[in-house]
Amino acid sequence: MIGLSFVLSGMLAAAMPFLLAALGELVAERAGVLNLGIEGMMALGAVTGFVIIFHGFGHATGFLGAGLAGAALSLLFAWLALSLRANQVAAGLAIGIFGQGLSALFGKSYESMTVAGLPKLQLPLLADLPVVGGMFTQDIVVWLGIAATLAIWAVLRMTKLGLIIRAVGENPTAARALGYPVIAVRYCAVMFGGLMAGLAGAYAATVYTPLWADGMIAGRGWIALALVVFGTWMVGRLFFGAILFGAVSLAQLAAQANGVNLNSQLLASLPYIVTIVVLGLISSNKKLLKRNGVASLGVPFDP
């Protein structure tokens, strides 16, 4: 089956924008901050990365710039939400709109231009397997993304830093009483989230579909936010959720490859429809949310 091996080999790359952004948001939410500005941070990261790479500075510099741009925008969000104690929802929306506006402004003269993507690296032997072999032929960012997933899982689960982040998210008052700098930890977690969103945007605009178009993030930042809920704030589940969405967003291409004549607008809506359905399924399980949820998510800390 052409379709299956096509989806298997492509889904990891398609999943990366979701995965990277969602991992960052997971860390921020674990520290108790809900950042609704992800879409804008991805858009700003995307245009920053694209412009840098377009002018020939290479992918490494491009991704660095994209990460810094995302982090800078999230710093503004953190200042509003954490220092000025603005409503986190409103602050997130404001920063998101601002970021999308900035990306459109900076990207204006690059509309519809393209850059070269990244070469694929093969894992020896595994890449020669039938059907699934394609899964082991991926660009470097995919491999690094998987490594980052493992690293974030390990840090949150097994290190003191992870414990502090989780404590700050669960009970900031107690964490402060223990001497941890709640606001500083939250600042760092939010900026990590912004950094990851910037990288996710850069991947979307310079590797996955190496082309700039205004609005190209197309809701992927919002799906990343939903993914954190799907994963019930756990890294492993989030990873598989992101892969699922990678596969779903490939459905359009796979259907065309197999000559299936499904309506293209319906196929383009598929990731959004799946998001709504899965969100309903997971959220209705209140026990699961309560057990894994973050106790003081979205609550400003007023020492």
Partner: protein, 360 residues
């Protein structure tokens, strides 16, 4: 927070005076920020602001266009603010707007020869229904399935955009339209009557103003509006008093959907005059800014919708006269909300200078 010896202390009572001053401060602050941005872009900031903020209000033809632009923003933002007060965050007005436009367009698309004075009111009503129907899904999802209305309303907007595309390239495409993705041009009776001679301002502005009064009465003067507000401010207290959270969710989303649907209908039946892709131009998202900037208050929102409408028309001016990209307007709008959120901190908090030595 403890920055350079200053910290924030919660006020016993929010300052009403500052609540009015904050949006003005936010406007001045964003003008200053964007002034720097335009300089960096090599534009003449004075000329840009002249075109953007002054020209739209000093001539009647330009100002009438501002009133036209203000209409959908005012309608949608009033509806959203009711929900935001109840902490029901509907960010999917864009989708509800599109559905309103689609529902209203069904009449002239299916009956291109239709005539009669009842046609446009029917379209407006259908638009309202369309917007509400699109808000039913997030309402059910929130009430029955406990799913975040923020994410569901946004997803519904993205789906609505695809639905609009589908109709325009498929069944609703104008057969005589040279293959452009747009519907037939509506017959005269399927367009809104103009109310100000010599301008494009139509009856929708009157509807939006009546809607604003209705929202003011509902929110400030009715018991249900009070329940909605208490439910947002103190959900537990509202629960003890027997107010139902589910009803607040339903009311908020339906009001928001209705408002956006009305706006969508009045846009296709108003200045646009046919269903086309460009109707989904982000009013639903800008209305979020309008709602917050107006302090979620029906009176404030009249002023904030006027301001954002000026920015739209002024942005078009600046594009022509000063070569400013359209995206700069989005940046200005975004920065306005950012500055506003920073400024309203002072409504709820005082800045206190920390004496030396006892810094935490």
């Amino acid at each position: 927070m403890n920055l350079a010896g200053y910290r924030l202390a919660r006020r016993d009572k929010a300052s009403r005076k500052l609540a009015v001053v904050a949006p003005v401060v936010a406007l001045l602050l964003s003008i200053a920020l964007n002034f720097a941005l335009y300089m960096a872009m090599g534009k003449n900031p004075v000329a840009v602001f002249q075109a953007m903020l002054i020209e739209p209000v000093i001539s009647w033809p330009a100002f009438s266009e501002v009133l036209l632009k203000m209409t959908p923003l005012l309608l949608i933002a009033q509806g959203l603010a009711a929900g935001f007060r109840a902490k029901v965050i509907n960010i999917g007005a864009e989708g509800q707007f599109i559905l309103g436009a689609i529902f209203a367009s069904a009449v002239p698309v299916w009956f291109p020869q239709i005539s009669g004075l009842w046609v446009w009111p029917l379209m407006i009503v259908l638009g309202g229904i369309g917007g509400m129907l699109w808000a039913v899904v997030p309402a059910i999802w929130r009430v029955r399935l406990n799913a975040s209305e923020i994410l569901v309303t946004l997803m519904m907007s993205l789906i609505a955009a695809q639905l609009l595309n589908f109709l325009l390239v498929g069944p609703w495409k104008d057969p005589m339209g040279f293959n452009f993705p747009q519907s037939v041009i509506f017959p005269l009776d399927a367009t809104l009557p103009l109310i100000l001679p010599g301008t494009r301002v139509n009856v929708a502005l009157a509807i939006a103003l009546i809607w604003s009064v209705a929202c003011w009465v509902y929110l400030q003067r009715s018991f249900q509006g009070y329940q909605l507000m208490v439910g947002g401010l103190a959900p537990q207290a509202a629960g003890y008093a027997g107010y139902s959270q589910s009803r607040a969710v339903w009311m908020s989303l339906l009001i928001g959907g209705l408002a956006a649907g009305l706006a969508g209908a009045s846009e296709v039946a108003g200045p646009v005059g046919q269903l086309q892709r460009s109707i989904a131009s982000g009013y639903g998202y800008s209305a979020i800014i309008v709602a917050y900037l107006g302090g979620l208050h029906p009176v404030g929102i009249v002023f904030s919708s006027l301001l954002i409408a000026i920015l739209y028309i002024g942005g078009d001016n600046a594009m022509v006269s000063a070569g400013l990209p359209v995206a700069a307007v989005r940046v200005f709008q975004g920065s306005l909300l950012v500055c506003y959120l920073a400024a309203i901190t002072l409504v709820r908090y005082r800045v206190i200078r920390e004496p030396k030595g006892i810094r935490a």
